[in-house]
Each structure stands twice: as C-alpha cells, then as structure tokens.
Symmetry: C2
Subunit: 246 residues, 2 copies
C-alpha cells in the first residue's frame, strides 16, 4: 500500500479507497467493483460527502419497512463486504434478517471469501453459496440471475446496497419491496426501488441501525420520487456553491 500524504485534501476519501483496494487484494472486491466505487465517490463529492435530509428521510422509511417486514433479506456484494461487514451483521441481527451473498460478476470463490469475511464479522448464517437452494430470477440475462430459495427468493423486503438496475427491476417484478443504497439519484436502481437511500453506505448504514433500534418506529409518509428530486436539487445547490458563476 502507498502512503497517502496527510496534506492531500482528499485524504479521507483516499482512506476509504484503500479499504476497497485491501478488499480487492483479499479477493472480496472485483475489478469492476473498484470502478463502481469511483462512480460512488464522484456522486458523494457532489452531495458534499454528508447525509442529506432526504437521505435521512429514506433511512427512516427503510427502518420502518425493515422492522415490520415478515422475511427481510440483506443482499451483500463485494464492495459492501469490504466497506462495512460488521454493520451488515449488526443490521441483520436487529431486524432479524437473512444475509445473502449475491454478486453481479458471480464467482464461487469470491462468494466464499465474502462469506468468510461476514462470518468473521459475526454472521451465524450466510446464504447464497449452496447450489441446491439456488433459484433463477426471470427476465434477467445477466449472470446475476441466481438467488437463494431461502433468501431473496422468499423475501418480502430486500435490502440491496449498491445494486445494478436490471436486477432491481427484476426484484420489483417479483413483488419484493426493495430498499437500496445508491449514490446516483438518477440511476435506474434509484428510480426503481421503493426506498432509495442516496448516501455513502459507510455513513448511512450506522444511521439505519440507529433508526431500527428505536423502540417505537413511526410510519412516516414517504415518497421516493419526491425524495430523489430533492436530492438532485441538493446536488444542483452544491454545484452552484462550488462554482458561484455557473
């Protein structure tokens, strides 16, 4: 690993980046995952690298859905496992959710490495590696059409952090309630999901855990479309702040 000069104005972001690089070296993160992280970084930068009130709204709505879900499942990919494995396990425990490893660039070895990371972080059970319980999602020509019959296939509410658009649409067609973390408020995933938390998963997941821990979860009025529009307005304001004459 290279030394990140402390004087570098993007040092904080560079440290998170190194987490991904470590995850990559450990066989958890795919090459494409490194690029996806870069895309997230750019949007996070435009959001001012903080949790907006719109993200907080979405987090509250997500907590309410998760706490009242019958069979919630959290889908984990390489980037999520590299960034916040302990938090995933904590969230699953609090809302009594299953954890399923599910990759866009599928790869049995990488799946097993991710399972190890999650178990090391405290997970008792991780679904998604047993071919006997695999089911195919219809309407997907990507390699990521396989899900676990005891996991996503059976779920009423699915948390899919950092998800691909095709798969989010397929999950919606299966009748799932979809909660996603996506830093791009314009993505198909963001627009298709029921609840889109437009925030860095590293920041937002701790807030989601806190919300789920609250003894009384009020059902709040929530409109994902309006919430996304608010987020885009926030980006536009940030752009104006940073480039005053634009």
């Amino acid at each position: 690993m290279y030394l990140i000069p402390k004087s570098h104005p993007r040092a904080k972001s560079l440290y998170i980046r190194e987490k991904l690089v470590k995850g990559f070296d450990g066989g958890v993160v795919a090459k494409e995952g490194l690029m996806a992280h870069g895309r997230g970084e750019a949007f996070d930068y435009l959001l001012g690298e903080k949790t907006s009130k719109y993200a907080q709204n979405a987090i509250r709505a997500a907590a309410s859905s998760l706490v009242s879900a019958k069979y919630p499942v959290i889908s984990v990919n390489g980037n999520v496992a590299a960034l916040c494995p302990r938090e995933i396990v904590k969230l699953a425990r609090i809302v009594n959710a299953k954890i399923e490893v599910n990759l866009f660039y599928t790869n049995q070895k990488r799946k097993e490495t991710i399972v190890k990371v999650l178990k090391k972080s405290g997970a008792k059970e991780v679904l998604g590696t047993d071919s006997k319980s695999s089911r195919r999602i219809l309407g997907l020509d990507s390699v990521r059409r396989v899900v676990d019959s005891n996991g996503i296939y059976k779920a009423d509410v699915v948390v899919v952090p950092l998800e691909d658009g095709d798969r989010t649409i397929a999950l919606k067609k299966m009748g799932k309630k979809v909660i996603t973390f996506d830093l791009n408020p314009l993505s198909r995933t963001a627009k298709t999901a029921d609840i889109t938390i437009v925030d860095n998963v590293v920041r937002a997941i701790n807030r989601l855990i806190s919300e789920c821990k609250k003894s009384k979860i009020r059902k709040i009025p929530y409109n994902n479309k309006k919430n996304l529009a608010g987020t885009v307005l926030e980006i536009k304001k940030n752009l104006s702040r940073r480039m005053p004459h634009a």
Copy 2:
C-alpha cells in the same frame, strides 16, 4: 472477461470499462486507476456523455497552444495508456511533442509496461524511465514528484490528461502552461490548469488531433474559469432534464 449483455443500457460505458480492466490485467493500470475511471464515468454521465461546446472551446485553445509551443510534452499515465495509446502517439507526432510516462502510484515495472504499449502504438521515444535524467519537482510530498529533465522539466507546455491536483499546482509553480483533460470541472486540477478540457479523453483526443492538423490555427479568446462555469451550468441543465421536478 465477462459477457456484457447487449440489452444493458450502459453497455457502451461497460465496453470502455473493460478496456481499463484489460489494461489492469496487462499491468498498465493501477487499482487506484480503476477507481479514478469510475469517477470519470460518473461525471461523463452527468455531462450526457458527449463533447460540450465548452469542451470544444477548450480543445481549440489547447490546439492553438500546442501548435505554437516551443517544447511541448505529453504526460502519460496508466489509464491514458489503456484508453488511447495510438491517439497519444499521433498527437505527439503532429505537434512535435515529447511523450513522458509519469505515474501517481509510481512503479518502475508498470512504467516499462506502459513504455512498451506506447512503442507498440508507434512511439519512437518515450521519456520517464531513465533515472539518470530524473529531476524532482519542489513542493510535492507525493511519490509523483519525479520528472524527466528532457521531458516535463524542460517543457513550456505540458499536456497532463487525468492529472492529480497537487501535481498540477506544482507544474504551474514551475511556470509551465498546463493543458488537462478532466471530467470533473470542480477539481483542483480543472481549476488550476490553464486549459481544462472537461470531456472523456477517448472522445476529446481525436477532436484535439483534428484541430492540431488544421493548417491555420486562429488564436481564440479563451477564459478557463468562464469555460468551467459554463460546463457546470451544462451539468445542472442535464440534472434538470433527467429529473424534471428537481
């Protein structure tokens, strides 16, 4: 390599992404370079993945500077070598510029691999690997402070595609005229350079080559700050188009 489904709405972007992955597999691109590409992708997406009139202004100004330069040098890093090595060689030939390999995450082996790629693409001479002619740039604590005494060190005009902010500032302090390609109009590099081409290097470099080929290059009035502000306005318009109620 994985099959990219043709039906995927981001297929074009995914193909370019695979170029980077190939470059990574071939030892040309660094892990951090994959993430940097992702950041670029996000900004390109916000720019509508096309060359704006502001980018075209910058390209024209860059051509004028390059054609009238006394000792122009083009700095090449891993991502540039993976994306458009032939175009770099072509541009260097047309404006009679030196090519220098210069990396943020320096590494002698990777440097030599990049030299090979450039020579395979037609380059006669590539600077930056001979320690006897290396010079240090003052005011940089990054590993990328070393430049070639017959290259960047001696140049009056430097083309630094996909550059880091610290280094752009250091080059300006050395009195160089800096031309950069940067998809983030708010970056320190974008704001520090004399001419910032806010466009995907894959698209913009061909336009730059065309401009440099023109027999008569008119000196056009150019203001980088105003041009960047125009670009940011373009992003804001694109955001509004894609999210009409924001």
